[in-house]
């Protein structure tokens, strides 16, 4: 029965239609900003093509680039760790903190640490983590996961955030002014930045040639945390590598225009060496990525640069909300990444799409997202994660449609039923009929009409 899960949560979300409209329009507005920004760059499609090829090349030579990156980063004075899975990743971080008697850490946005459930893990070991990106801080205070990878609290209205800040940061009750709420977060988090000895960041791009990595933010929160701390820990999936520094020219042109329609994030920080007297550690994490790399149909999903353009354009995401996916990464890209982690849990996600294909068109690295959704559907059925009732129905349908005789009988029966016994179909057991009328029944099928009217071909 897994296939119904996204549908059930989406149905919940759709109970408040005004909110669905608001969510849809907010995200559509971002899609429009993305369109304006990309349409302004005449070489946009060339950028996508070339970036896609660079990523294809990198994945085909990842074994080499990982080692080149490690060598160059170590020469820069950076410590490299390798983590095969989430547990190892979390333990490396715990050890680094415990060795330094650190019990509080500030963290900027990192979907990888969400994937590894780092905050909960460290919390269980007595270490407090504060998320410093405003949106992430908001969902952290609300004890919710992010619903979007770039706009973590896009599902929340400002009044709800005002309520949350009133409770946690002491802002005046009933105040929902974004300016005022942001200022309150600024004051509160500034104090956090100034008192934390450890800072964790994600990694947007890592450069094999130089051993450096790039972190992109608009708020400056990653840098505020890092530069004030004694130790900077950067968590990165092994797929974040690109070969050369000059390749950043393409990726930084694509990333933010695709994400929010900005020409570039406010800060694109290039970390090559630790600052004097400070430590820099990079954790290279596999956690299923090498397995995905070994699936020819799905390896291109590893090209993702986490821009979220596919979220914003997806008509299903916009009308079902990020939490309906019940996955670390929601949206179309999440629906092709998540089954690799846990096929049973996420068997519903490749079906949460009409295969409209808009996701693949906005993808800055040209991942064939909607084709992969189609392919995951096949895999999920083959692996036995589909609803058995659906399987039986499909077998009957396939048999009927393969036989012209059975097809004619079934077609006639369907039309007869609709005409003479509509109550069999027009009831609330039929999901079509809940909000949609059935088509009117024609006098005859086209096949029947043709037999009467085009005798020569009979």
């Amino acid at each position: 029965m897994k296939v119904a899960d996204h549908a059930q949560r989406a149905k919940e979300f759709n109970k408040d239609e005004k909110r669905v409209d608001w969510h849809d329009e907010t995200l559509w507005f971002i899609r429009q900003k993305r369109d304006r920004a990309s349409h302004n760059i005449p070489q946009w499609e060339e950028l996508r093509n070339t970036a896609s090829q660079i990523k294809n090349h990198t994945l085909s030579n990842l074994h080499h680039y990982l080692q080149e990156f490690e060598r160059n980063a170590q020469a820069n004075g950076v410590t490299i760790h390798w983590a095969a899975n989430a547990e190892e990743h979390n333990n490396i971080i715990l050890k680094l903190l415990q060795e330094r008697n650190i019990s509080q850490m500030v963290k900027s946005k990192s979907m990888l640490t969400e994937e590894c459930h780092l905050n909960d893990f460290l919390g269980d070991h007595g270490i407090e983590v504060i998320d410093s990106d405003l949106g992430e801080r908001i969902v952290q205070l609300a004890k919710e996961p992010p619903s979007h990878i770039v706009l973590p609290c896009i599902h929340k209205k400002k009044e709800e955030i005002g309520e949350l800040f009133h409770e946690h940061l002491g802002t005046p009750k009933g105040s929902a002014d974004p300016q005022l709420l942001t200022e309150a977060a600024r004051q509160s988090l500034r104090n956090v930045f100034l008192t934390r000895k450890a800072a964790l960041t994600g990694v947007n791009f890592a450069i094999a040639e130089t051993g450096e990595f790039v972190v992109c933010t608009n708020e400056g929160n990653a840098d505020m945390g890092v530069h004030l701390a004694d130790i900077h820990i950067a968590s990165m999936g092994i797929e974040k590598l690109i070969p050369q520094r000059r390749h950043l020219g393409l990726f930084l042109r694509l990333l933010t225009r695709s994400a929010t329609g900005q020409p570039i994030t406010t800060y694109s920080s290039h970390f090559a060496k630790p600052a004097k007297g400070k430590a820099m550690h990079i954790i290279l994490v596999d956690n299923g990525r090498s397995r995905q790399l070994g699936r020819p149909d799905f390896r291109a999903s590893l090209k993702c640069i986490r821009c979220s353009a596919c979220f914003n354009t997806c008509p299903v995401y916009r009308r079902s909300g990020g939490h309906s996916y019940n996955a670390v990464i929601a949206g179309p890209i999440g629906s092709i990444l998540s089954p690799n982690f846990d096929m049973k849990k996420h068997a519903d996600l490749p079906f949460a799409s009409t295969l409209c294909g808009s996701c693949s068109n906005v993808c800055p690295v040209k991942i064939d997202i909607h084709d992969q959704l189609y392919k995951w559907r096949q895999v999920i059925v083959q692996e036995g994660y589909a609803d058995p009732k659906k399987t039986v129905a499909m077998q009957v349908m396939a048999k009927t449609l393969a036989s012209p005789t059975m097809y004619r009988i079934a077609g006639k029966a369907a039309r007869t039923t609709l005409k003479y016994a509509p109550f069999v179909v027009n009831n609330k057991l039929n999901a079509w009929y809940l909000h949609r009328d059935m088509p009117e029944v024609p006098k005859s099928s086209f096949g029947e009409w043709y037999s009467k009217n085009r005798k020569n071909n009979d």
Binding site: L134, K158, P178, L189, G220, L250, T266, S269, R291
Partner: protein, 196 residues
């Protein structure tokens, strides 16, 4: 088997046959025009929330800053000697002492017309936090130091050795609350770019 060996072995077994690295030549077929690039830079950086000023001297910059800010009793910091009349130099060992910086003035290497970003790396300043901690930030940019695109930008720094460098485009900002743009998220509330 260490995790490193394990990961590398898995990657090697999984990666497809080598695919070619594409050429980037296409992106260098641009016409360089200093005046146009500068004009585009100004338009773009103002659009993303910065202020720009065309100036002929550092005195003009100082006068403008004094006009824009009430700097009395406020901490102003710059590594540039030209600002010694209004700014101190930061030479400390503990950057937490920068928490009360009101205004920091920094030089930049060059700017990018297409996105309004300025590149600065630690050849020009030695405390990374200075880009982020002040309430207000000002950059000095030489007017001939504007490149049209990010491709040209990386051409400038392709072989450069630095410990840290950043493209900075406008003031710190967020739109996390209902997509309402707010300047001054965690970093500087404003950015001025003085084009000299």
């Amino acid at each position: 088997m260490t995790s490193k060996e394990q990961i590398l072995a898995a990657v090697k077994a999984s990666q497809p046959d080598l695919k070619e690295l594409p050429s980037l030549d296409f992106f260098y077929q641009d016409n360089l025009n200093q005046d146009e690039d500068l004009a585009q830079f100004i338009e773009t950086v103002e659009f993303i929330g910065a202020k720009t000023y065309r100036v002929n001297s550092y005195e003009e910059i100082i006068a403008q800053l004094q006009q824009d800010f009430d700097l009395k009793g406020k901490r102003v910091i710059s590594p540039l000697n030209e600002f010694s009349t209004i700014a101190e130099k930061y030479t400390g060992a503990d950057n937490h002492t920068l928490a009360d910086a009101e205004l920091i003035i920094l030089p930049t290497h060059f700017a990018v017309a297409e996105n309004g970003a300025c590149w600065i790396d630690d050849h020009l300043f030695d405390e990374r936090l200075m880009l982020f901690i002040p309430q207000h930030l000002a950059f000095v940019l030489k007017k001939e130091e504007v490149v049209p695109t990010m491709h040209r930008a990386y051409e400038r720094i392709a072989g450069k050795s630095y410990g840290y460098g950043a493209f900075v485009a406008g003031p710190s900002k967020t739109a996390d609350i209902e997509q309402s743009l707010v300047l001054g998220a965690h970093g500087p509330r404003s950015l001025r770019v003085f084009i000299i």
